[in-house]
Symmetry: C2
């Protein structure tokens, strides 16, 4: 059997791969550093960097606002070659942002917004925010290289259409990319909120981790899976639906009805809407998930008891997910992640007890560090991945060469 041939392996490093190196470092790299990181010959590195510079994908560090004090001979990823517009559409609020190609938020807007008011009402607000964000920064629609939106429901990744969403009344099969086509000539990516959040956490906080689980405990309960460094959406965009796993709870005679039509689902016990329902039944006049979270934080005994029960039920469902999926990191976000440390303690206790030792010995269960920006940041990185595929980078360089 032949041993691996190093020069052949290096031949696999395209200009797009080299550009990827620069995306991952904030301070840029010199030619010597690229040679050392890649094992490519000096000649090849010169060729590849010349192409990336000619196409404007890289720039000298001295020309970049963040790194302009740097000595000559250092190059950085050109974050300002264009901008991105992204929007995180939640059940009861939305957030829109203008980002650079490094995925950094340059400006943002947020507003309360009821997703059940339907696509026209919600997307009108998103489009207005996008226009304001561009105008406020002296930018034109032509400078937008990509638009990304995430929504609280399953999405057909190929077409960007929401499919059979349990809570997004009026959105089924709606053509979201089509809404933006008259005004923007760029790709429009639509994804499920937890997928974008999972990718944001992985790219920015755990770049060395291949397998990550994002759990969002908001009005409902959902998970986003990163498998082998890629978002796992499943065959129909329905993956990660931990909220509708059925559970049996000992002190409950009649399993509660879920929003999906079944009974006894995880989120019918442990989602934000269920917490609001149970607090109301106990005589607390709470109207929103945030009010329920405040009541838990205030130490109200009924609220704390319900939050602890939610933690045990969530822990059981997450333990099952750990047995099936074996992630290295579980990041927990959403409004209920702000109740208090008891939620985490309850989840951790059940997961470490019920999952197999092999799957938990190196497992980290953490609060999402990016929440509530995880979705926005994940979307911007998903967009840049799509804009700068190896094939597209190759084409940008060929075009720049042809124009000289």
């Amino acid at each position: 059997m032949d041993t691996t041939n190093a020069s052949a392996l290096r031949a696999g490093l395209s200009p797009g791969d080299i550009l990827g190196l620069f995306r991952d470092v904030s301070d840029g790299l010199t030619k010597t550093e690229v040679t050392r990181h890649t094992g490519l010959s000096r000649t090849t590195v010169n060729q590849r960097l010349d192409g990336l510079l000619a196409a404007g994908l890289l720039i000298p560090a001295s020309e970049d606002a963040r790194t302009k004090g740097r000595p000559a001979g250092r190059f950085v990823f050109n974050r300002e070659r264009g901008v991105l517009l992204v929007a995180d559409i939640g059940a009861t609020a939305l957030r829109a942002a203008l980002c650079d190609l490094g995925g950094e938020v340059l400006a943002e807007r947020e507003a309360d917004s009821d997703v059940t008011s339907g696509p026209a009402a919600v997307l009108t607000v998103v489009e207005r925010f996008f226009t304001e964000l561009l105008q406020g920064n002296g930018l034109a629609p032509e400078q937008v290289l990509g638009i990304g939106l995430d929504v609280p429901g399953p999405v057909d990744h190929e077409t960007g259409r929401v499919v059979s969403p349990p809570i997004m009344t009026g959105w089924d099969r709606y053509d979201i990319p089509g809404w933006f086509a008259p005004r923007y000539d760029c790709p429009v990516l639509v994804d499920k909120d937890v997928n974008a959040m999972a990718y944001g956490e992985q790219r920015l906080r755990y770049p060395g981790v291949d397998h990550l689980l994002m759990v969002k405990i908001g009005t409902g309960v959902g998970t986003g899976l990163i498998a082998g460094g890629r978002v796992h959406r499943g065959a129909d965009g329905a993956a990660g639906d931990v909220g509708h796993i059925q559970v049996t709870v000992e002190d409950v005679a009649e399993p509660p009805l879920c929003r999906c039509g079944n009974t006894g689902c995880v989120e019918a016990y442990a989602g934000g809407w269920a917490l609001v329902r149970d607090l109301r039944e106990a005589g607390h006049p709470v109207a929103t998930v945030n009010e329920a979270v405040q009541l838990v934080r205030s130490g109200d005994l009924t609220a704390v008891r319900l939050a602890r029960r939610a933690a045990r039920i969530l822990g059981g469902a997450i333990a099952d997910t750990v047995n099936l999926f074996n992630p290295r990191v579980i990041a927990i976000g959403g409004q209920l992640a702000h109740t208090d440390e008891q939620l985490f303690a309850g989840i951790r206790e059940v997961v470490y007890r019920r999952s197999l030792p092999l799957a938990t010995r190196n497992l980290q269960i953490v609060r999402s560090a990016l929440d509530p920006h995880a979705g926005i940041l994940g979307l911007s990185h998903l967009l840049v991945d799509g804009i700068y595929t190896p094939e597209r980078v190759h084409a940008f360089i060929e075009r720049a060469g042809a124009g000289r």
Copy 2:
């Protein structure tokens, strides 16, 4: 935004990618067909095929035993450039095979074998079978390009060591590749049985399906996941452990103890060992899982009742997996898949009732068509993938060019 540049996309097709095309067709391809399939220029196709022919990776169809009646100008993947030795090590039996590089079984041996007798006893049998398979076909160890083994427990994919296996007494951290090193100078791949089975099903039966779940219901219960066309092993090789999800069963007061030390696991109700236990408790003198399966097939009322309960419990666990993972195909194998159609009917009923409609509308639940050869066939394809990576193909061609 730039539209996708077709010539740039084509530039991404390496000789290894071209070789992959040939692996997927049994009748071979002409240069014209390769040009049509890939969109590459005639000149590039000529170059790439010349390289693959010079390195002996492709051969003219007229020189291949299967296709020798074919007209000139047609080329086939050279399945006879070397051979593979693979072994499927089960809890109570093992199967060893000699395969060509097309993954086809040329000869095989099987024997009863108790995995708890430990690695030295089991691997001695495997090595003897390997020697007999080579000698019986007039082959020398130097012609072996790869060795693959699958085992009924979690494996650290990097080192090929079994890790904390619940049922493989004496195998923990054992260096399986090291056993073969004195005699064979080739890579040794070790994987969990259900992973190899899942890959075999996907490659040979569902090549167009990216997301597949393999469920093995044998002595224990395990699942192998194909995510995005690749085996999902998880962060510690522990993924797919559906057998140790905890379930609550209404008519059972005291959840049964599982082999893993917990109580109430799926396999403590629905695995082959649990079926044997319950039949014995009911007064049936069954000793093995196969005897229990025969009793179900004979229509014994207690055995049928227990099999139906197992189907409901497995159906619940598979429904959870569908909600989390959203596969397109579920293939079910292992000894209990041979009970009868009732098992499948029971599983299907629960899955279609409990999983979300979006995840089941295109879902197929089928009996494994390759079982009991799914593991052997999956291993041989995993081995060829590793032997013929794009980088290695590049190296083979460079070496062939240098030798001319």
